[in-house]
Amino acid sequence: MAAVGGGGLQGYVVRRLLLAVPVLFGVSLLVFAVMHLAPGDPAAIMLGAQATREDVERLHRELGLDRPLAVQYARWLGRVLQGDLGRSIPLGREVLPEVLTRFKATLILTGGALLVALVIGVPAGIVSATRQYSWLDRLSMGIAVTGVSLPVFWTGIMLIIVFSLMLRWLPSAGMYSPYGGDFADLLWHLILPAVTLGTASAAALARMTRSSVLEIVRQDFVRSARAKGLAERAVVGRHVLKNAVNPVVTVLGIQVGTLLGGAILTETVFSWPGLGSMMVRAIQARDYPLVQGGVLLIATTFVGVNLLVDLLYAVFDPRIRYE
């Protein structure tokens, strides 16, 4: 695709990358603030009531809490950019390897849930729109509105009661069997958590796909395609879906955020060893570096996903890159 007046895909990518910089700066400020918004001395809170005054003062110095906030932020950001997310006091380990290991499990869960959402949501939305006001449309949209109203933690518990406790078909907890397992074992353990997490997103995706397809179906070019005698399957496949993809991709991007957030609850229900369940324990233990590491990693990933979504727009719709 030729570049037009400094536009083109390359220019668009550079502009989007530059726009992500202030957002990432804001994210880093908020993550830094997690420790400093806490009422009281963070060092004393982290060490707990049993800590001696000397211990608190030593940690105070180690964290640089006696310096001005701007200096603390600059030092913290400098360390983060070098991959140093600090040290977890309760775990006695560096934060980065800990969060990276956990993040792998969260990504597997989120990926599985996204697959569930796509496989169920997009076809349901297309079928609904192409058979508007039919019983199938009403049924799938009824299920969709039910799906978006289901609290993820309750869906998980109900699925455990039915499929793990009553039918004994699927495992209710963990990522692998107690004595280790292979890829098939991982998939076996992934089914319930992925379905739990993906249900609400599938519902949201179905609703969005339906409304996008309905909007495109009413366009003149679709009427022309039908008028020239094109089969309905070809009209939908070749003309409608191609144009309806951008709003669906937008919702998909938002759903990645919903899934990453919802993973915190799902991991707790299914004892999935991910970042979410780790962060809940870290908050209760007031382990600020671990919480900051987890939040930073997930938020940065989400910014990356949004960037990818914007770039996909330009790929699917060449008009965008010239705007």
């Binding site: 309750w154 109900m158 009661i161």
Partner: protein
């Protein structure tokens, strides 16, 4: 934030901005007629009214105290004598706990939504009317908040402020500020360019009076729709925080904390987990259907 919530961001038609009282009444009549025609919206309204009545009249609807422990009747099944919905792990009556839990869950959900709507609308109004660097600063802050996955930001704020009911409310309210901020800013920008606002400005009406009398009034319809669509998500988010032990703290309990404490008994008494979750689901479904119906009635183009 559901797609239904996102679709509510479209600025509305001019509701009550100009025109005689008769026209306004007729417009409201049309909205009511359109709303009544939707079975789903009426079902949502019925659910919301029923749950609200149950919450308000909780002490009158059950003879039991929600914290009354009876160790001889632990985990009694539903339809047990004296306990129509059974008892929990401490022998406490599930009906009483669900009804009193409704008070906390609904009140906290509504309070957090109000807080978010007020703060977000103020931000949107300031950004839209102020323009320039004020608009830029507010919108960049909103972009930053939106860079976080919804629930993660609430968790991060809880991490900073500490677990608790009030902190949970603040956390989910802050997370939802961008939602209202963007709706109100969009409406303000659209209304600001209308002829009657420019005419009022030409007549020398002060900016403050302009903001309150003309701009804010036009923002009310989209804000009302947004609030209705948002309450369900708020109730879920707050229940989720309580489920993780980061929201409501004992001895107070809401539906989320009830669900959390019952998890270990699902093997022997599934009803202790099923019922609080069902209550959350019905409340959220009710508000979602009500919000969808209101949005469709106010702007049929979005259907």
């Amino acid at each position: 934030m559901t797609p239904a919530t996102e679709r509510a961001m479209t600025p509305p038609a001019d509701v009550g901005g100009a025109g005689a009282r008769r026209v306004t009444t007729s417009a409201l009549g049309d909205v009511a007629r359109m709303f009544r025609r939707s079975h789903a919206a009426m079902f949502g309204l019925a659910l919301v009214v029923a749950l609200t009545v149950c919450a308000v009249l909780a002490p009158l609807l059950t003879p039991h105290d929600p914290n009354e422990v009876d160790t001889t009747r632990r985990l009694a099944r539903p339809l047990s004598p004296g306990h129509p919905l059974g008892t929990d792990e401490f022998g406490r009556d599930m009906t009483a706990r669900l009804l009193h839990g409704a008070r906390i869950s609904l009140a906290v959900g509504l309070a957090a939504t109000t807080l978010a709507a007020l703060a977000g609308s103020l931000c949107g109004l300031l950004a839209g009317l102020g323009g320039g660097w004020i608009d830029h600063a507010i919108m960049r802050s909103i972009d930053t908040l939106m860079a976080f996955p919804y629930f993660l930001l609430a968790i991060a704020i809880i991490a900073a402020l500490g677990p608790g009911l009030v902190n949970g409310m603040i956390a989910v309210a802050v997370v939802n500020i961008p939602f209202y901020g963007r709706i109100v800013r969009g409406t303000v920008l659209a209304v600001r360019e209308t002829e009657y606002v420019q005419a009022a400005r030409a007549l020398g009406v002060s900016e403050l009076r302009l903001a309150i009398k003309h701009v804010l009034r036009n923002c009310l319809a989209p804000i009302i729709v947004a609030v209705t669509l948002n309450v369900g998500g708020m109730i879920t988010a707050l229940a989720g925080l309580s489920f993780l032990g980061l929201g409501v703290q004992p001895p107070v309990s809401d539906w989320g904390s009830m669900l959390s404490s019952s998890r270990q008994y699902i093997n022997v008494a599934p009803h202790v987990a099923a019922l609080p979750g069902l209550a959350i689901f019905l409340a959220v479904l009710g508000f979602n259907l009500l919000g969808d119906g209101l949005r469709d009635a106010l702007d049929p183009r979005l259907r």
